[in-house]
Amino acid sequence: MARHYQLLENTATLAQIEEFQKSRQVDNERFNDAVKEENLRRKKMVFDWLRPARVKNDHYEFMKIRAAYPETGEWLLNHPTFQEWFHPFFPMVPPLLWLNGIPGAGKCRQLNISIVH
């Protein structure tokens, strides 16, 4: 009889432990969420302070145009001097390169095309 009672007590304690662990987990998740929120807030604050230019939009526009003409520009990527600058393991030193004649990466500028009606 005493043994049965002890067994019951242990089982009840186990359930309590599980309950405690669950609640710990919930607390941890809440804490992690709060940390994430705070980091996001700080990031936003820093980005507002840095006020970066909207070059991502420019880049997106150029990529859209380039997507329409996928073969363009390959000659540059294959150019030996470019490869020397670009190579991740064996680049030129110092790895500085000047590309001239191309005003920009997109629109008509690279191709210097004028439309004549």
Binding site: A53, T72, E74
Partner: protein, 203 residues
Amino acid sequence: MVVERAKELPIKPIVLYFYCKHGYPEQDNFPAVARTVLAQILEQDGDLLPHFYQRCCESGEAVLETRTTIEELLKMGLDSCKSAYIVIDGLDECGRENRKEITQWFRNVVTDLPTSEPDRLRCLFVSQDDAFSKHDFSGLPSIKVRVEDNEQDIESYCRTQADTLTLDPYNLARERATVIGKTVAVSSSGKVYLFLPRGCDFF
């Protein structure tokens, strides 16, 4: 394109880029370049957030403007990159002093790298070839884009544009569209003139 290729590299470098734009005060001077590059570094390396946040709180400025802080943070940000590819495009769109300043700063940050890691940072400048460029980039390897290099690009461009002539509202026969696409005059200055039927409007 260079930017996208760099992002695909297995070493996963930090990729930083800037497009200069004439007439845009937010895109034609060194502080603008620096602040934008700093934001890009922060996006790709969250470990810097605590330090940047602290400096932000201490700065007392709504927008970072103090030159010494800008340079200090940019140097620090670049120092923390294990590997960074930097592309600065359209330098000829900036005023004389601005383009010189941008170029010199980034040239120096690369040439000042120690011999133990001389290629940790690398920089590509894109700029028209003019008197100022010749001075600012003197001594650097360069690639000149020539008309011949663009030929394949031009063909590809014209072919694609000619295809649109077979659709509404032009509805030209394919043969005729192809002839139009091939009718390209290249002037001696390297410009390409695309002659179109009256009423066409590709842009």
